[in-house]
């Protein structure tokens, strides 16, 4: 059956992938079919989606972060006369069960791209008198929620191209996102934060992309203050995290302000394991494989924080190479670390995920792209074990974006594949991108504006439409 799926008008690239992931989580076998309402732009918040039944629609909507609501549409039209005709035509056996005298109901008038005054809202509700509502109105906790939604027919909607023709929908709500999660988990009230703590909304989206559900083992190799694992734990995942910075994972800012306290704050189960480890030289036992159901992370890409790996100390004055740690100093020795380029980090991450994910398990991670490059097809790191199922861009500044990659493990890990991946990585590193090397991305993002204008190829380029701002 076709349902109308109305999204919050944010994070546009993330909306459909989230619904598609949740459809898979709730066991809907086929890939989803989408359809746009007449005259709507693909960035419109209104989409029709084909789902097998109401239960599926409700499950998806209630678990999602970006779905405002999924509705069984009783009628639509480009004006109120057409709407009435459509609603009258809609079969009675679909309508009457929700209009009985024992039930309570509520009608909400909503609009996109314009404001409808309270008085106009009341008039529009009165105009629906041709629908035989027998029940009582209950605004707080109705049995059935009905929505009258209007899109405007003029001008530009929140920066979107105009909808050519006004469209009005009337339908019954099947389910909607629980956005109360977001104020609960918002970073500003979290006790222990780092400079790159993941925003709660995005962390939940990542957990949904990773199909987190109770009893799954979820791993974050760059755990930091645990902000991604908090979202995974909220959905029942068993969480594990590693970080190369021991102060972040072990000490935090004191006994009640550390990674553990971030879980305690929300009454979530503590992570199963936290450890200090290097993603470049992971300490997992040989032979351990296919143990994680999902790996979710925000790799250090050198803009807010750079990656580090083991090794690489310059020799101390007077020391003779190769560097050795004197035996009497070993206990308290603090090993030095070397910069860890993004290219190498992604390669290690893919290799780890290929080995350690169960078949069908998901790797969900961010990957940065420079926005000057968006005239060409962006090439993401690839691996034979993985199929890319979604890539969702979030524009962070006029210089760069981050893209949330969702990959599914489709082939078992073998030595041949690992070797092929290593060669592919070398080639990728070669062809691509100086900026994947340490420091270059940072300088591209923070280069002063006057230096850019010297480079006339960039200056003469048309600016991209900018309506997908930080929050859209």
């Amino acid at each position: 059956m076709w349902y109308l799926c109305v999204f919050f008008h944010r994070l546009l690239d993330y909306r459909k992938p989230e619904v598609e992931s949740l459809a898979e989580l709730f066991g809907i076998p086929e890939s989803l079919e989408w359809r746009l309402p007449e005259h709507h732009h693909p960035d419109s918040p209104f989409h029709f989606v084909y789902l097998p039944n109401e239960e599926a629609a409700r499950n998806i909507a209630n678990r999602s972060i970006l779905v405002k609501g999924i509705y069984e549409i009783w009628g639509e039209g480009s004006n109120y006369e057409e709407l009435e005709e459509a609603i009258m035509r809609y079969p009675d056996d679909r309508k009457l069960p929700y209009l009985t005298s024992e039930s309570t109901f509520k009608i909400t008038v909503d609009s996109f791209g314009k404001v409808i005054s309270f008085q106009e809202q009341n008039e529009r509700i009165k105009g629906l008198a041709y629908i035989p509502f027998k029940g009582r109105v209950n605004l707080k906790n109705p049995d059935h929620r009905f929505w009258l939604m209007e899109t405007d027919d003029y001008g530009v909607n929140n920066g979107l191209p105009p909808v050519v023709q006004r469209r009005i929908f009337f339908g019954r709500e099947v389910g909607g996102a629980d956005r109360k999660l977001l104020p609960t988990y918002q970073l500003k009230s979290r006790k222990y934060l780092g400079p790159t703590a993941m925003d709660a909304e995005i962390a939940f989206l990542m957990a949904n992309q990773a199909l987190v559900s109770p009893g799954k083992l979820i791993y974050d190799p760059f755990v930091g203050t645990g902000s991604i694992l908090v979202a995974a734990a909220h959905f029942g995942g068993m969480t594990m995290g590693a970080d190369i910075d021991i102060r972040v994972v072990r000490d935090g800012r004191g006994p009640d302000c550390n990674v553990w306290s971030n879980f305690k704050q929300y009454g979530l189960p503590m992570p199963i394991g936290l450890l200090r480890a290097d993603n470049n030289l992971p300490p997992w036992r040989p032979g351990l494989k296919e143990v994680f159901d999902a790996i979710i992370c925000d790799p250090p890409y050198g803009v807010r924080a750079g990656g580090r790996k083991s090794g690489g100390r310059k020799l101390l004055k007077g020391a003779v190479g190769p560097y050795t740690v004197p035996d009497d100093k070993r206990t308290d020795h603090i090993p030095s670390t070397a910069p860890y380029s993004l290219a190498e980090c992604m390669h290690d991450l893919l290799d780890l995920a290929a080995k350690m994910l169960v078949m069908g398990g998901r790797l969900v991670c961010f990957y940065p792209v420079l926005r000057e490059d968006d005239t060409v097809q962006i090439q993401f790191p690839e691996h034979q074990c993985f199929k890319l199922v979604a890539s969702s861009e979030q524009i962070l500044s006029s210089r760069y974006s981050r893209v949330l990659l969702t990959m599914v493990k489709i082939n078992p890990y073998t030595n041949e594949i690992a070797e092929a991946a290593r060669l592919m990585h070398l080639e990728f590193k070669e062809n691509h991108l100086k900026w994947l090397e340490d420091g270059n991305l940072h300088s591209s993002v923070f280069m002063p504006a006057d230096q850019i204008s010297i480079d006339d190829s960039k200056a003469s380029k048309e600016l991209k439409p900018k309506y997908r701002g930080k929050y859209v």
Partner: protein
């Protein structure tokens, strides 16, 4: 550090061929109650090195696990309870993990194993 983590870790010092299982040096063990999820346990059972878990649990002062285990035992609630306790409720709060080949100690403080290698071990 729970024994599930211990069961997954090895010493990855350069040149070490047999870094598993890490020997546990106990200074302080604590027990934390965790909700039991049988599906998770059944799933994990196939991934666990049983002997390493039995030995580690014994080092931590819990000797209830049978020497040998096979998947048919997962039907028993009693077995699941013991497995759950050993895998997820025993914590090494302070101590060390010792590489079986070189004797290098990986310290465990505040429940966090420090698996980072020194410069000359990479």
């Amino acid at each position: 550090m729970r024994l599930l983590t211990h069961n997954m870790l090895s010493s990855n010092i350069k040149g070490v061929s047999n870094g598993f299982p890490l020997r546990i040096e106990v200074e302080k063990v604590i027990e934390k109650e965790v909700d039991c999820n049988p599906d998770f346990l059944i799933n994990m059972f196939a991934k666990i090195e049983w002997k390493a878990l039995v030995d580690a649990a014994r080092t931590m002062g819990y000797a209830e696990l049978p020497e040998e285990a096979e998947s048919s035992m997962l039907d028993s609630d009693e077995f699941l309870r013991k497995f759950h306790h050993a895998l997820l409720e025993l914590h090494l709060e302070e101590g060390a993990l010792v590489c079986p080949e070189t004797g290098r100690k990986f310290p465990v403080n505040k429940g966090i194993p420090n698996m980072l290698l020194h410069e000359d071990e990479v």
